[in-house]
Amino acid sequence: MTALLNVKDLRAYYGQVQALHGLSFSLNEGSLTTLLGANGAGKTTTLRAICNMVRSTGAIEFEGKPLNNKSTESIVRFGIAHVPQGRGTFTNMTVEENLQLGAITRSDKAGIVADIERMYSYFPKLKERHTQQAGTLSGGEQQMLAVARALMLRPRLMLLDEPSFGLAPLVVRDLFGILGKINREEKVSILVVEQNAQLALELADKAYVIETGRIVMSGVAKDIANDENVRKSYLGY
């Protein structure tokens, strides 16, 4: 397996404040990797740095090509779909318009129409509500819509920022099941940031633990989940 995403010595800054202190990790093609850590550890910042939404230094390579100094909107064209914290739903547009926006960089009309139908088969609730304003959906449905919108890009890599946030446990199970399926069947590599460590470790094949802007632990997800010391000191369960 080759590395799809390679991050070396990543440092990120908000104004004068440094949020990441030399982070390095890699993600293999086809992998579902999770970044774990407490509030303020730098998980969201890491995802934002990959998409150049925060000032950063260090090397970020996607399929061997450097992403540094590329604009956020051009990084999307590499096939990297980012579902931000808070989902980034266009609340006053319809569900279908949200899906079309996900494919705004594509020009194959027939493919887009087919993909919208495919999303509706993954998420039947979205089909029922396809003419509704996205803001009227429930939290879980909005998260489904955000994932579907990201998939409309036909991404190579999907970045997910706390997809479980604010959702009921049953809805989270459902969502994570679909993420696993997308990863296996559509061969989309996924990097997911989570506070719900237990669930993320069940789903992922590889895990990194971040604390105050540094990687403090990495390994196969199962091993980390089974290591009681790690669980107690970093993951809190």
């Binding site: 980012h82 931000p84 980034g88 926006l101 705004i104």
Partner: protein
């Protein structure tokens, strides 16, 4: 009753112009959250361009089309050169930019074409429309072109990909960039379209108010009033606001004693202020909720 119908129709005709100006103002407001004080001057300059083209021998509609293209390109150029560098500047700096743009365009027009009042032709003629005394063919033409413009814009924003991308960029710039939309160019495109819409308003109103560098002053105030009345976040509201302001202005001038032409403007603005006291976001605007 005929006087009433007459005044309402005339109000709709001038209201169409206010609607265009309000729409131009709202388009830029949606993109950058500021009122463009120079919108009227941009429209005036475009109108002079079309007049100059006709002086050089172009037919009316030829000059009309060339002016639209010029205004579109000019709007984009203004955004790229002047306002893109100011994107992250404080509000007052941007306001100063708008005021500078206002006086630069005004003075340039005066320098090139001087301040004397000029006749401006109408392609529709000014005979009674369909033989009725209620409305002239030029007024009917103003209404017709505005309606065409509105329908065209509706289809553009609802059914084209660029229209969808522009709406997304205005609603949530960060999310828009995350799906790959170049939001900076969408703002420039918004400026171009606003300038082109304004130029249509200028060319349609010029036969009524005559052509001179200060011709759009009153029109822009009514356009602002219409945009604020309808709600700065709603293009539909801005257009309706334009028609309402036009009708109200005419009726007040006709029926309220001692109002006449001089007092029409304050009366219209007083009405708008009373509406805003009751509904601060305008008739169709959304209250902007900010997290603190």
């Amino acid at each position: 009753m005929e006087l009433f119908t007459n005044q309402v129709l005339a109000g709709i005709a001038t209201g169409a112009i206010y609607a265009c100006m309000a729409l131009a103002v709202v388009m830029i407001y949606q993109a950058i959250d500021h009122l463009n004080f120079a919108q009227g001057e941009m429209a005036m300059f475009s109108t002079f361009i079309s007049w100059q083209l006709m002086q050089w021998g172009l037919p009316y509609w030829g000059a009309f089309i060339v002016t639209l293209a010029f205004s579109f390109a000019g709007g984009i150029a203004i955004e790229r050169v002047l306002f893109k560098p100011l994107t992250k500047a404080p509000i007052l700096t941007q306001v100063a930019g708008f005021i500078a743009l206002f006086s630069i365009i005004n003075s340039c027009a005066g320098l090139i074409w001087d301040f004397t009042i000029k006749q401006y032709p109408t392609p529709f003629g000014s005979s009674p429309f369909l033989g009725s005394q209620l409305i002239s063919t030029h007024q009917a033409g103003m209404i017709g072109i505005t309606l065409l413009l509105l329908v065209g814009l509706y289809f553009f924003f609802q059914y084209t990909r660029v229209g969808l991308a522009m709406r997304a960029a205005a609603a949530l710039p960060e999310s828009a960039r995350l799906v790959g939309i170049n939001t900076s160019w969408m703002i420039a495109l918004g400026w171009g379209m606003a300038a082109a819409i304004g130029s249509i308003a200028g060319m349609l109103i010029a036969p009524v108010v005559f052509l001179e560098p200060n011709m759009m002053g009153g029109v822009l105030i009514y356009g602002f009033a219409a945009a604020v009345l309808g709600g700065l976040t709603s293009p539909f509201g801005a257009v309706l606001g334009g028609f309402l302001v036009g009708i109200f202005e005419n009726l007040a001038g006709t029926y309220i004693p001692h109002v006449g032409n001089e007092m029409k403007l304050p009366i219209a603005l007083a009405l708008i202020i009373s509406v805003l006291v009751i509904k601060p976001a305008g008739l169709f605007g959304r209250n902007i909720v900010k997290r603190v």
